[in-house]
């Protein structure tokens, strides 16, 4: 079995978000880039599946320029066997999925994070599944291999389900899929550069959406404080002033 983990390169989650060019582009000056947190959990689960046996290879793939390679190498340091970088700046989710569809055909299981923490698209995994005509399950919080099938926990609106589904499968994973992202061991860090990182040329594709501009949320009014000894007052305020009770 071969597993592909989709890796998105995103700004560190503590980044203070700023825009430039009259709010038309994200200001990446001084930004530290990390593996998208959900993708990192997906990779961790892939490693666990491999350690449990039955997985021959874990590949990580990313669409982006050379500057995203440290992120892929971190994934290699964590334990992926090889990496693919489609050499083109990522545009929208459709464009990214089109590029990935070219390199993802031969995998039995594709793990994608439910969203990326930058554009919150919730899209690439599902789009890729459709392009490849693979089965897909979203909101996956657990997955294991069961012969030629997969046993999957998914969250539904109002509960959770335990499923059995045939591959090839795109599992779109969320919190719970693995406990914590793995910290790469030094041996892994040293080996990362020796593992294959294949750079693939982009295919011709057009994005279907474009970002016109950005807005920052309006600054919040000061917090109205209520005295600890008179906490009941809070309920009155919520009822009469804020009208949310």
């Amino acid at each position: 079995m071969k597993i592909l983990v989709l890796i998105s390169n995103v700004p560190d989650t503590t980044t203070k978000v700023r825009f430039t060019g009259d709010n038309t582009s994200f200001d990446d000056a001084g930004v530290q880039w990390i593996i998208n947190p959900w993708d990192e959990l997906a990779l961790t689960r892939a490693m666990e599946l491999k350690e449990a046996g039955g997985v021959d290879k874990i590949t990580v793939a990313n669409v982006g320029e050379k500057t995203t390679e440290p992120t892929l190498r971190k994934a290699l340091a964590v334990g992926a066997d090889d990496a693919i970088r489609v050499d083109v700046p990522a545009r929208d989710a459709y464009f990214v999925a089109r590029q990935l569809a070219e390199v993802a055909k031969d995998y039995d299981l594709i793990l994608a994070g439910i969203e990326a923490s930058d554009y919150n698209g919730n899209a690439v995994g599902g789009m890729l599944a459709e392009m490849l005509d693979f089965n897909s399950v979203s909101a996956v919080s657990g997955i294991s291999i069961d012969g030629d099938k997969f046993t999957v926990n998914r969250e539904i609106d109002g509960g959770s389900q335990l499923l059995s589904i045939t591959g090839p499968l795109v599992a779109i994973v969320q919190k719970g899929i693995a406990k914590e992202p793995r910290i790469p061991a030094m041996r892994g860090i040293m080996m990362a550069r020796k593992k294959p990182l294949n750079v693939v040329a982009a295919v011709d594709a057009h994005e279907k959406t474009s970002y016109v501009n950005y807005e920052l949320p309006a600054p919040k009014a000061a917090c109205k404080m209520v005295d600890e000894e008179n906490a009941k007052e809070l309920i009155t305020l919520l009822h009469e002033e804020a009208k949310v009770l």
């Binding site: 989650t13 503590t14 980044t15 978000v17 959900w38 989710a93 459709y94 439910i114 923490s117 919150n120 698209g121 919730n122 690439v124 599902g126 789009m127 599944a129 459709e130 089965n135 897909s136 399950v137 979203s138 909101a139 919080s141 969250e155 539904i156 609106d157 109002g158 509960g159 959770s160 389900q161 335990l162 499923l163 589904i165 045939t166 779109i172 919190k175 719970g176 994005e207 279907k208 959406t209 970002y211 016109v212 950005y214 807005e215 920052l216 949320p217 919040k220 917090c223 109205k224 404080m225 209520v226 600890e228 906490a231 009941k232 809070l234 305020l237 919520l238 009822h239 804020a242 009770l245």
Partner: protein
């Protein structure tokens, strides 16, 4: 041409969320000189389907095929795309919930459409079609233009007001002509959360953090939530410690919620946590540390001991 809205049901019933979606689709239809068709999959009684008309649906397609009960993403997307084609839909609207997030991307590819997920408002313009959504996990908004003929949108919860209209809808059976081979998902077990308000539906959310000190101290929060009909949530350290289930974790890597009222008890308000709750209409913070960043995000706050404040709040709610 029409606006198609996928209305999910829960044991044959719709929720407020379903009506929000129809209201939203109706507002779009008005601007585009179009009409709203709702697609309902599963067994829903006609009088329940008719409720969709009260929010602007003029046609309801009902697809009653038990095989779709497994929510097989591939089969369901195919059926929805078929309905969109049949109706000549220019816009397809989904909820930005688990199922909507699962289906919208597949449907958008099938229809060769452009997708915006997590829209927070009506399109600000229709030609070009520009719509606002949250980015950077609530830290900013983006105006996204869809450059495709067909548009697929998932709508964030609580971002559009219900708009009732007097209307009737024609109900039409829809046969998706699905092939058995399309269904590859077998549900072995379903665990429904019962007797509790679902976090994603909740208008009010009561949430606890590390300041609750231990997993044994949740009684007060649960009591308050019960009284308010609120959903329960927690911060990441709480679910990491195993004090509460990870399904209750709200924050950047957990659930993103947008209730009308969010109570944060003993939550310091790390930026990752705020990312998951900042869209709440009103945030209330109770924390003993006056410097806790949660107070920067809160509308109302109490600096004090959670365990002293909680009983007072419970009494006050009981007295309401």
């Amino acid at each position: 041409m029409s606006i198609l809205v996928y209305t999910e049901n829960w044991d044959g019933k719709f929720k407020k969320l379903s009506f929000e979606l129809v209201s939203y689709a109706a507002a779009i239809a008005k601007e585009m000189d179009s009409s709203v068709t709702a697609l309902s999959v599963g067994e829903v009684a006609d009088d329940e389907l008719n409720k969709l008309a009260n929010y602007g649906a003029s046609k309801v397609l009902k697809l009653e095929d038990n095989r779709f009960g497994s929510l097989d993403n591939k089969a369901l997307s195919k059926a929805i795309a078929a309905a969109a084609n049949k109706e000549g839909a220019k816009v397809v609207v989904f909820a930005h919930d688990n199922l909507g997030k699962a289906l919208a991307p597949r449907v958008s590819v099938k229809l060769d459409a452009g997708l915006v997920s997590g829209a927070t408002a009506l399109p600000s313009s229709f030609d070009p079609f520009v719509i606002k959504k949250k980015v950077f996990t609530g830290k900013a908004f983006a105006n996204v233009q869809i450059n495709a003929d067909i548009k697929v949108v998932t709508l964030s919860q609580n971002s559009f007001e219900l708009a009732e209209t007097a209307g009737t809808a024609t109900i039409e059976a829809f046969d998706a002509a699905a092939d058995d081979a399309d269904f590859n998902t077998v549900v072995n077990e379903t665990n429904k959360i019962t007797g509790k308000v679902l976090l994603n539906d909740a208008e009010i959310v009561v949430s606890g953090g590390r300041g609750m000190k231990s997993g044994d101290n949740w009684g007060g929060l649960e009591e308050l939530a019960d009284l308010l009909g609120a959903g329960m949530a927690c911060s990441r350290p709480v679910s990491d410690e195993g004090w509460r289930s990870h399904t209750e974790h709200v924050g950047q890597t957990g659930k993103i919620i947008a209730p009308n009222l969010y109570f944060a008890f003993g939550i310091s308000g790390a930026i990752q946590h705020l990312g998951g709750v900042s869209s709440s209409k009103v945030i209330v913070a109770i924390n003993k540390d006056p410097e806790a960043p949660i107070f920067e995000a809160a509308d109302y706050g109490i600096v004090g001991d959670v365990f002293k404040v909680l009983p007072q709040l419970i009494d006050a709610v009981k007295a309401m």
